[in-house]
Symmetry: C2
Subunit: 246 residues, 2 copies
């Protein structure tokens, strides 16, 4: 029999909303901010396209200041582009080759707020279904305690972010190096396990999918719910989200 080296497991937990973050704050080395529909999917797409950085700003007022300084600025509220801005948080807006090397400021209803709330943590990375496996692999290699912070919808629980958090927790726990302690993490894992392989169907009754469907954003939804399209991991450094260097 081979000798077992006993090693303390790291924690991976899922926090449902920015509002709940106060119960988790300070206990985790790495926070993964998740806003599947659509902020963190847009940010991953932007960084994957070669943008130099995305600057997350919480308010429309701050976004206007960046606009005045000549930045390209994305602004979304209630799923729609805010009046006076050219783009919102559709991932497709950030795939234009003309944007390569540029910096963009972004404010969204939930996602950028969650990023700014998490910014007190040692390390903040950006997760979504489209870069799921890359995030899992990197987290596995770190040996740190991880919190998946779901952006929710206006401080309420949402299903798609929870499933993405559950997917990360499930994969990390399956490595044998992680454990979880909170019922929110157990529930997220269970929800991911039943949704696996059929995100579109599973989310058909979710409130946000209905909201975006009304806005004719089905193409965005399908893109955001298709896992593992890229290996990029965006990371927050000095207030700007940039590409994590390998």
């Amino acid at each position: 029999m081979s000798q077992q080296v006993s090693r303390k497991k790291n924690y991976v937990e899922v926090c449902f909303t920015p509002e709940d973050y106060s119960y988790f704050k300070g206990r985790f080395d790495i926070v993964v901010v998740i806003d599947v529909l659509r902020a963190t999917s847009a940010i991953c797409s932007a960084i994957n396209n070669g943008l130099k950085s995305v600057i997350p700003v919480s308010t429309v007022e701050e976004a206007l200041e960046y606009k005045a300084k000549g930045y390209l600025v994305g602004a979304e509220r209630q799923g729609e582009i805010v009046e006076g801005f050219d783009i919102g948080n559709s991932p497709y807006s950030y795939m234009d080759p003309e944007l390569i090397g540029k910096e963009v400021a972004l404010t969204t209803t939930n996602g950028t707020r969650a990023i700014n709330i998490a910014s007190e943590a040692e390390t903040v990375i950006i997760g979504s279904l489209i870069n799921l496996q890359a995030v899992v692999d990197w987290l596995e290699s770190q040996g740190k305690d991880v919190l998946c912070l779901c952006s929710g919808w206006k401080d309420k629980f949402n299903l798609e972010d929870t499933i993405c958090g559950g997917a990360i927790a499930d994969a990390l726990i399956n490595t044998g190096k992680f454990t979880s302690d909170e019922d929110s993490s157990v529930a997220a894992k269970y929800l991911f396990q039943s949704a696996r392989g059929n995100y579109m169907g599973y989310l058909k009754s979710s409130s946000h999918r209905r909201r975006l469907k009304k806005l004719n954003l089905n193409k965005d939804i399908k893109y955001c719910l298709t896992p593992n399209q890229m290996d990029v991991i965006p990371i927050l450094i000095d207030g700007k989200i940039v590409k994590m260097e390998a």
Copy 2:
């Protein structure tokens, strides 16, 4: 073909914690307060045993005042009986035939607080797995909007209350007379559907079950997770929980 009478559906939603209640407050005619492990299971057992009323109090200080007045008083914190009190929130404490016709004051970590938070609603009833079907049947007959308020654990999500809320939502939606709109309700329904028939196994990794197991409360857990043991529906009237008259 028979003529269809079109009728607006009622809402049934699930709120995960007392902390989240502010997002739901005021929109529902009936609130079902749920604290499966163990406050609402204890209250159902007490009313089923023939106690005249259970008076929910939020603080240990208030409970001491009732004790000074000669009331029988139950007080639980962290799963244990508070020092200076004779009973806590074990359902078995409320099954003594000597208690028939008596009034008891009760304070618990989560459940009685949730009851008092919900008390501004038109109608507040007490639900648990042990009286699940009775609650569902009565709610179906009312034609009102229903909120299932989970007590959680110190304002954090818990799995057992959510599954009980999901069971109520699932059953009401299946009658065709109810619908739900919130992702928390969709998730609760999904979690109930995967837990159905195996609550003990499903909850084995839940934080509260582990907490109670450490306290040697496995007998309580098994009792609280066995559905449909009684038809009684406790209802809050003028600050006291009494038996709903048929």
